[in-house]
Symmetry: C2
Subunit: 168 residues, 2 copies
DNA sequence: GCACGAAATGTTATAACGTTGCATATCGAA
DNA sequence: TTCGATATGCAACGTTATAACATTTCGTGC
């Protein structure tokens, strides 16, 4: 492991199961504060995402919710909930997977870097202020105004690499 | 405009019309060198993409090629050509648009940053070695091996911003 | 409580994007 | 020219996402 100071200016979060209830509480509190409805569907969608621990597709959410509610839901229902959760910063879309993850940094402006393991499917979310600054510099040179950043780095995570090394 | 030295370590390319024939020549030469077939379909797909000047979807390519060939082509035909062109580094997929652009840096390992204007649709491709180094550092700390980078920055380009400023 | 507008959800259909599987044709080298 | 490898044709299907409109629920002022 690298020395601690190299990651001092970054926070790092693994989408672990332990974060489920905390993530939900946070979202609920934020909605209340903003005067928005944290409805059962929205809550359930977010809950499924935290429980999944991996990027999860809209149609898989649809199936899970169908089970949970005991009746079939339709795509617009799920997509509307996802749209709301994204607007509020509770959820981020993983473009390279057509899938969604609960956001570990809802406070910040979604300038996160995602490391996505192609083998196990896990995603790791990192904030990297220096990279943001570099992109802003490029943007300045181009006269470009950045509204949204999508940074997805695909490859193999530490645990999959070590499994590979020990002979699969 | 910012001082030149801030972009010294980067190349910058606008997907301009003038680059069409050069892009095609380069692809053809590279295929010959690699012993690969630069067939009419592959060539036509790449040509459409260079001519478009913007990220272009597979089904729009399909329509354009249908016109050009005077008969309808099927989705697999286009997707197979796109797959080939991506493998050879002539084309990059823009994940946030489900679209494709001809690659301005086919020699490098696709570690490009795309600035994509939401208003006019144009895309700008930039190489930023420093950002790459930062991500590699993060990856090192995570024990992660990066195989593929997707970096797409959405917003408003200089010309659209200036149009906006002068009263739409 | 109730009336009313705003917000959320239900429902149906369809658009947009991408893949599978197998048949046929073309290329390139022995 | 024969044969394997590569490329294309083609039909059907799978997946992801949205449009359009009806209905229900929520929150507020009376």
């Amino acid at each position: 492991m690298a020395p601690v100071n190299t990651i001092l200016d970054r926070k790092l979060v693994f989408h672990s199961l332990g974060a489920v209830s905390e993530g939900l509480r946070m979202a609920e509190a934020t909605c209340q504060q903003r005067g928005l409805q944290f409805t059962e569907i929205r809550r359930s969608v977010l809950e499924c995402m935290w429980q999944s621990g991996q990027p999860i597709g809209a149609y898989e959410l649809l199936r899970m919710l169908g089970q949970k509610f005991g009746r079939p839901l339709s795509p617009p229902t799920v997509y509307r909930a996802l749209e709301f959760l994204q607007e509020q910063g509770f959820v981020t879309r993983i473009e390279t997977k057509n899938a969604f993850v609960p956001c570990a940094f809802p406070d910040r402006d979604h300038a996160c870097v995602f490391f996505i393991c192609d083998q196990c499917g896990n995603s790791f979310e990192v904030q990297n202020a220096k990279a943001e600054a570099l992109f802003e510099e490029d943007a300045g040179n181009l006269g470009f105004r950045i509204d949204k950043r999508v940074i997805e780095l695909q490859g193999a995570c530490a645990s999959c690499l070590s499994l590979e090394a020990t002979g699969n």
